[in-house]
């Protein structure tokens, strides 16, 4: 074929496309290839595997809802920053049109830089470090709260909780892991608390502890000695379990355990390991709306693929991972092409109102961040994470103070 025939063919194709504004030219009936990078082994293995469930059910649900074909390309970054980077490069080389990942802020940041460099859209499913969307990236988008968002929403929900249960705790002891979350929370609490005047309590002691610690006796002793009304806790899964046990051993029964926003107490292991002791713990976290139409569809698909499991235990991880892929598919549907730049522009125009997670529509601001993602007050009731606030999404009433509360 020479230049003339080539141009002529292009002209014909162009005319054909113009004459069929709704149709997708045969050659464009492609699949969107979504590269999902998650820590499936290593220290964060259990979280990555939880997120993966959201990715696994995505193709089926999206085909049903949007009529769009997507293919998931998975990669394990082994909880490692170097691997995150090379796996992202690899996925792009193997033809991924969009990237999703990775949960850990360091690993996510490494991927983001690769995505930006190569001009491939990267939709962050979960990662809370605010700096990632402050870098001026054009190809990186985040459909998740930043740590300051999580703090602000979490604290506000605490106020709502006290109002809803007509309680007025005067003091709290703040315990937190000394990691990214914990530190952001500590800062956020310092910044936001003075402004949230509807919160009736003061923090009488702050105890930060090592996330790797296997023995938290000292920490709990200190907390108990503070005589605070309730425990404000920012934790991770393993230390949450240790803490709860230690509280029983030391016979400390405050009004309740409330997390203004951290993993741990809503996760399956917490229930499995602690049984009845897990009851009534509260986590204020981004969550899905149990009453939303999309939730029901996703739940059905989840049960089909994981018959022995429940979506609610993977609510945050799977929910947000699914939504990230949904954003990609939605942009693909509108852009009708897998060209990365066009896709990125389409993503920027995203306005998804029918979604699974709480809060406003999925709309990216100039920095690629979604604002207005809602948090829910999730309480452990009957060994299940149950949304108790906001009222619109609640499936039960909050219980506070807990039945076992003994004033010290």
């Amino acid at each position: 074929m020479n230049r003339r025939t080539f141009s002529r063919n292009m002209a014909v194709a162009g005319a054909a496309t113009a004459l069929y504004p709704f149709g997708i030219v045969r050659a464009q009936a492609q699949k969107l290839r979504v590269g999902v990078v998650l820590p499936k082994s290593g220290v964060q293995g259990f979280i990555g595997q939880s997120c993966q469930k959201g990715a696994d059910l995505a193709p089926g649900v999206i085909k049903e809802m949007l009529g769009v074909d997507i293919e998931i390309m998975g990669a394990d970054n082994e909880s490692n920053v170097d691997t995150s980077r090379t796996r992202a490069e690899r996925l792009i080389q193997e033809g991924a049109h969009v990237l999703v990942g990775a949960f850990d802020s360091g690993q996510t940041s490494a991927m983001a830089q690769v995505a930006e460099q190569r001009g491939i859209p990267h939709i962050i499913n979960i990662a809370a470090a605010p700096q990632i969307t402050e870098q001026g990236y054009k190809f990186v988008f985040r459909n998740f709260q930043t740590a300051p968002d999580i703090v602000r929403e979490g604290l506000a929900l605490i106020g709502d909780l006290f109002q809803a249960t007509n309680t007025v705790p005067r003091s709290a002891v703040f315990m937190h892991v000394n990691d990214t979350f914990g530190q952001a929370m500590a800062k956020g609490i310092g910044a936001f608390m003075p402004r949230l005047t509807q919160l009736p309590f003061k923090i009488v002691d702050t105890i930060s502890y090592d996330p790797a610690a296997k023995d938290l006796a000292v920490e709990v002793s200190k907390a108990k000695a503070s005589n605070a009304d309730f425990l404000l806790l920012v934790c991770r899964l393993n230390d949450a379990i240790l803490l709860r046990r230690e509280m029983v051993k030391q016979r400390w029964n405050p009004m309740g355990i409330i997390s203004p926003g951290s993993p741990g107490m809503y996760e399956e292991q917490y229930y499995k390991t602690l049984g009845k002791l897990s009851e009534y713990s509260i986590s204020n976290v981004p969550w899905y709306n149990p009453n939303a139409k999309m939730t029901k569809i996703v739940e059905k698909a989840f049960l089909k693929q994981n018959p022995k499991d429940k979506l609610v235990f993977h609510g945050l991880n799977a929910g947000f991972t699914f939504e990230a892929i949904l954003v990609a598919a939605d942009a693909f549907k509108r852009a009708k092409t897998t060209d990365p730049k066009t896709l990125a522009d389409a993503i920027r125009q995203t306005n998804i109102t029918e979604k699974m997670t709480l809060g406003g529509p999925i709309k990216f601001n100039a920095k690629g961040q979604v604002e207005g993602i809602g948090s829910a007050c999730v309480q452990n009731l009957n060994l299940t994470p149950t949304v108790v606030l906001p009222k619109g999404a609640a499936t039960a009433k909050p219980v506070f103070p807990v039945p076992g509360y003994k004033k010290a």
Partner: protein
Amino acid sequence: MSLDLVVNVVIAGLLTGLVYGLMALGLSVIFGVVRVVNFAHGEMMTIAMYAATVLFAALKLDPFLALVPVAAAFFVFGYAMQAGLINPFITRPEHSQFMLLVAVAIIMVNALLMIFGPDARNVQVDYQLESFEIGRILIDKARLYSALVAIAAAAALFAFFKFTLTGKAIRACADNYLGAKVVGLNVKKYYSLTFGLGSACVAVAGCAMVLLVDVTPPLGPYYTLLAFVIVIVGGLGSMTGALLGGVLIGVSEALAGLFIAPSAKSMFSFGLLILVLLLRPQGLLGKKQ
């Protein structure tokens, strides 16, 4: 800061320290005799913890009872590992030994991940969350029992090394490799025996530990490091040294956590390690080399 608080914290630190000491006991024995840096120590304990959970799930066996079969199995396993894998390495340079055990550790951790998956496992016995109450002092039952087991194990080992012929032979190999060979002792066999014994100790520690901590595959390295700190501080090859080192670390971490900042309490242990290495490298109860 009330006296009650301090006393409770110190007692908790003491008991926890004894449990750490139990964990380090096996390493002290191995390191003290074979002089190999077992960087798979924590991983071995993790395997023992999984073994205890499996036995509990299958037979409802209390870990303190399970420790008998698990320790026996580990003795055999340790013996085989030393005889087959490590004995050829005792004359090799340290970095080779280190690499060998790092490779073993990697295989162990990830094999556990493959077999058991990433979720935590544990046992659920009745007394696990109970405490004895003595006035205003609360003593955690599980920790107390584990601490008692630690003391019993140390005493048993001590008796073994002091009073039995095999024990004395092993000590001879540790004190003077060449001399022992000259006298006709089959040093390699005794090394294997020692590794077996040390592994059995690790198994006992694992069974006790599983009552306190849930087990996940990546648990190992944390305990390996801790075990080394304790063994160095307490003194190589000394049973009481391992327990004493454990107690020292346990109590000092507890106090540091109480008066300074809990998140920095490990810093304290490492600081202590550095001090001991510099001022008294043989450890508190170790013999001067």
